[in-house]
């Protein structure tokens, strides 16, 4: 049953009266929260989504870390040559961080773009399809991408800081 109180201040009183009758009265927000909580905690959907997110994060971290580390290993001699020529450690670290940051932001942008496109496509095929990317989602994804880029570049930075230009001469 849908009712609309004349005065919003009466909502609490109405809810108490309805509760005395053995029923539950909910506002729009409370209803949405209740449904959301039901699906999140009582159907296993929330746990599955959380697990998928964690697994995606770990896989993303592993793949990007591995890729970045391989890139650094392949170019270690080049970094050593740059050091020998006169590049300073902080300049090399700057290069690596720029590369990691640029790649991460490009990936983030592509990822968000793909999600928006997928939602658009779904809405086009299923008119009532409900999906929403909130600013909170975007911020969380950005933090995760930043963590992945940070961890990946940290491994590379350590390797590059350790290479001695003398190693280039020694072959």
């Amino acid at each position: 049953m849908l009712v609309e109180p004349k005065d919003p201040a009466a909502i609490a009183t109405i809810q108490r009266e309805v509760e005395h009758l053995g029923y539950v009265a909910l506002t729009d927000d409370q209803f949405v929260r209740k449904i959301s909580r039901f699906y999140t905690f009582q159907t296993g959907l929330g746990t599955n989504i959380l697990l998928m997110t964690v697994i995606s994060f770990i896989v993303g971290l592993s793949i990007s870390g591995q890729t970045f580390y391989t890139f650094i290993l392949e170019n270690l001699e080049k970094f050593g040559a740059l050091k020998a020529i006169g590049a300073k450690n902080r300049e090399l670290v700057g290069m690596i961080l720029f590369q990691a940051g640029f790649t991460a932001l490009t990936g983030y942008g592509l990822g968000v773009g793909l999600c928006v496109a997928a939602i658009g496509l779904a809405r086009w095929r299923i008119p009532d399809y409900a999906a929403l990317i909130t600013p909170w989602n975007l911020a969380l994804a950005l933090v995760m991408v930043t963590v992945i880029a940070g961890v990946s570049s940290f491994i590379g930075v350590r390797k590059v800081l350790r290479i001695e230009p003398f190693d280039i001469f020694r072959g």
Binding site: K83, A84, G86, K88, P165, F166, G171
Partner: protein, 245 residues
């Protein structure tokens, strides 16, 4: 034949002066004395070779006098400055501005064009990009590769890649040029022509060139030859006298 002991040279003409340079590697029983009180001068306007068998310490010596490897004892004066008294960043800056390096394996960047590779020292010196590329084009012209400035290094022959490495080394007009086994990755004729080219086109009165080499075929281009053995300087000979012998 000159003496192996420290020489008294015309200070104004000395590019690198090493005195009593010592270097140890490893620890405990594995500790080796890589350089044993080596002293020598490299002069402006000359091509000095450092020769000797593998493990004799020539690459270690080259690294010490070019500001790459810190010695455990002794002093290196390069271009009038006490190299190892400087802070690490200042040494890196000194290398960038005053020393040009040509590595055995070239170490060119495969994803950059030939001109971009040659411009690297200027880019590290924060020269504007256009200016750096223009200077690199001029250097590529000097080394005879002006038509290949837009190609990646993989499209070039070994000799051409070495020329790009030389262009990179001299693009910032360094006073000291260091070449580590410059002919090791090249066939005999190409190696000889490269070193001959360096002698004719790169050496001048304001530049000193120090080369580590095993290659006897390029002996004719040396002004002086330093012989190293077991970390010791065994003697310095005039290049011309070697040819006479």
């Amino acid at each position: 034949m000159e003496r192996a002991s420290p020489q008294v040279a015309d200070v104004a003409r000395v590019a690198i002066s090493a005195r009593g340079v010592d270097k140890w590697f490893g620890q405990g029983d594995a500790r080796t004395h890589a350089l044993r009180g080596v002293s020598f001068d490299a002069r402006f306007g000359e091509m000095l070779y450092i020769v000797g068998p593998s493990g004799s310490g020539k690459t270690t010596l080259l690294s010490v006098v070019s500001g790459i490897l810190r010695p455990d004892g002794g002093q290196v004066i390069a271009d009038g400055q006490d190299l190892w008294a400087m802070a690490d960043d200042d040494i890196a800056d000194f290398r960038l501005r005053r020393i040009g390096f040509v590595f055995q394996d070239f170490h060119l960047f495969p994803r950059l064009t030939t001109a971009e590779n040659a411009a690297i020292p200027l880019i590290l010196r924060r020269k504007p990009w256009d200016e750096a590329i223009r200077a690199a084009h001029e250097m590529l012209e000097v080394v005879g590769l002006s038509g290949k400035a837009g190609l990646p290094p993989v499209k070039l022959s070994g000799g051409e890649q070495q020329r790009v490495a030389i262009a990179r080394a001299i693009v910032s007009e360094p006073d000291i040029l260091i070449l580590d086994e410059p002919t090791a990755s090249l066939d005999g004729d190409t190696g000889k022509s490269i070193v001959g080219f360096v002698r004719r086109q790169v050496l001048n009165d304001h530049r000193s060139i120090v080369i580590v080499t095993h290659d006897a075929r390029i002996d004719e281009y040396a002004d002086r030859v330093m012989r190293m053995e077991d970390g010791e300087l065994k003697g310095i000979e005039h290049g011309a006298s070697l040819v006479d012998d």
